[in-house]
């Protein structure tokens, strides 16, 4: 496999030096290509069993420093959502966009932005899968990416 064949480079039609850079380190395992599914990184407390979608030193539930890193799967279900129609100053995401609360199959809830779906087609209970999206570009021209979620099943649009 040559460097020029990485999807990031292909999609941007750029040189082989370009890389995928996470918006924040430590939030998900970077897939090998833009088309891969990011796996969210979290923690599990070995004392009480509670799982977290973020990184801490002490367990928020039982207060013990007994958290181990875990990697969650890529699928979950929408428990609620909202379409944001007012642009937030400083946001890299342009309104309108859909914020969803997704319960991962492991039981942990995460807040995410939905991709590849029209706001009016979103429903509570919809199965979703993680995906990678570019949110901006760094000074070297690398794609700065983050994990989003999109519908797990291709659905035919109800409207013509």
């Amino acid at each position: 496999m040559t460097a020029t064949r990485t999807p990031a480079a292909r999609s941007k039609g750029a040189t082989s030096a370009l890389r995928l850079v996470p918006l924040r380190e430590g939030m998900f395992k970077m897939p090998r290509s833009m088309n891969g599914k990011p796996r969210l990184l979290g923690q599990r407390c070995t004392s009480c069993g509670e799982q977290f979608s973020n990184q801490r030193e002490f367990c928020a539930n039982c207060c013990q420093p007994t958290l181990e890193n875990v990697m969650f799967g890529t699928t979950g279900e929408i428990t609620t959502y909202t379409t944001v129609r007012q642009q937030l100053p400083g946001a890299l995401i342009e309104a309108p966009y859909v914020i969803a609360r997704v319960r991962l199959d492991e039981g942990v809830s995460v807040q995410t932005i939905l991709s590849e779906i029209e706001p009016d087609d979103v429903e509570i209970g919809m199965k979703v899968v993680s995906c990678l999206k570019q949110v901006t570009e760094d000074d070297s021209g690398n794609a700065v990416v983050n994990s989003f979620f999109k519908p797990a099943n291709k659905r035919r649009r109800a409207r013509a």
Binding site: V84, L88, G90, V135
Partner: protein, 384 residues
């Protein structure tokens, strides 16, 4: 702990006051509270000030407007719950016997537009999560799904709020709105619409509290309102799968309903009353879903019935559970540091029969207050 009573309150009208400083507004509110209570400034032994956006030590600058007596001035920042926290701290200090007479002040000057709740370089801002109504919208959507409520029921909160605000000379918006106008206003975060969002506001509030044993020096018993119950908290972590939440909700979520239920229980128990005894209520309607969620958590409406209670008019001034008789955050306005004091002021007015055109009937004796902010909430039970 000793009994502690409120003897008087004062407000600077909420609104947009570009030409006034927080000192100007605070001075007017404090002078109003001193006049209302009959307590001279020289008798004030300590001041607790709630404020968020003003600079370092702003509380002293405001309190010193009334004279430089050298008392301790405590600056409290607890986001939108700052001045209810100030009142609680003052009540505890007076109750403990450290002071007999205390002043509680809240003030704020805010910028127009969406309240910026995190740094522009933060993850929440970059990803567009930190839009203030988003958490209310997520919870409203889920509520509609779970209980078969409608967007109109939530919009009705704002209609009712503005009807009350129109009767309140201290309110930012003294104009009624129709259900059609609320429903037609643009979405900010669906299903929350522009006319369901509290505005940014300038304003000030002040409350004078004293130990019950010295209260008769200043006012007859009919003008003394007990701070009978109080509870504060920041919301314990709700484990995944628990009834209280979805799991994964960390930090001071101001919509932490399980935490509010516990605080309400504590406040009722301290006051020796229950939700069925409450005659008039103030809740934190920063966005219209706030009223519906809060009245359920406070136990004055049953779970899942809050939206219907609003829709059926039960929370109107003449309803059986009147809520936000002064217009609430939606219509009275929400100068974050001053809001808790305005809530206390309205309950004091109602319990002393000074509610004017928005006075609730049946000689109210028990008032309830819920003031929430990022980082903590307060529940207060006031009785006469």
């Amino acid at each position: 702990m000793r009994d502690v009573v409120i003897l008087g309150c004062g407000l600077h009208r909420f609104g947009r006051w570009p030409d006034k400083s927080v000192q100007d507004m605070g001075r007017e509110a404090i002078a109003g509270a001193l006049n209302d209570s009959g307590v001279p400034f020289q008798d004030i032994q300590v001041a607790y000030t709630g404020r968020v956006l003003s600079g370092m030590g702003a509380g002293l600058n405001v309190v010193n407007e009334l004279g430089q007596t050298g008392i301790p001035v405590v600056n409290i920042e607890q986001a939108c719950a700052s001045s209810s926290t100030a009142l609680r701290e003052a009540r505890i200090a007076v109750g403990a016997g450290v002071y007999d007479v205390a002043l509680v002040v809240g003030f704020e000057k805010m910028q127009r537009g969406l309240l910026q709740i995190s740094e522009t370089t933060s993850y929440g801002t970059q990803m567009g999560f930190s839009v203030m109504p988003a958490s209310y919208a997520l919870n409203e959507r889920r509520y509609i799904e779970d209980y078969g409520a409608t967007e109109e029921m939530f919009a009705q909160v704002s209609v009712k709020a503005h009807r009350n605000g129109a009767l309140n000379p201290y309110a930012q918006y003294q104009q009624e709105v129709t259900l059609e106008e609320v429903m037609a206003s643009r979405y900010i975060a669906e299903p929350v619409k522009l006319l369901e969002c509290s505005p940014t506001t300038d304003g000030a509030s002040a409350v004078v509290i004293v130990a019950k044993e010295v209260a008769d020096r200043y006012q007859p018993a009919s003008r003394q309102v007990n701070i009978a119950g109080w509870a504060a908290g920041s919301g314990a972590y709700t484990p995944t799968g628990s009834d209280a939440g979805d799991g994964g909700e960390e930090g001071g979520d101001e919509l932490n309903r399980g935490a509010l239920e516990q605080l309400a229980d504590t406040a009722y128990e301290r006051a020796g009353v229950g939700p069925e005894d409450v005659d008039v209520t103030q809740v934190h309607d920063a966005f219209s879903p706030g009223e519906i969620f809060s009245i359920e958590s406070l136990g004055i409406a049953r779970p899942g019935e809050g939206a219907a209670a609003v829709w059926e008019g039960r929370t109107e001034v003449n309803g059986d559970i009147p809520v936000n008789t002064d217009g609430g955050l939606l219509s009275r306005g929400h100068p974050i540091g001053a809001t808790g004091g305005a809530m206390v002021t309205e309950i004091y007015r109602q319990l002393t029969g000074d509610g004017g055109a928005r006075q609730v009937g049946n000689d109210p004796k028990v008032g309830l207050i819920h003031n929430a902010g990022i980082g903590g909430m307060n529940v207060l039970v006031l009785t006469r």
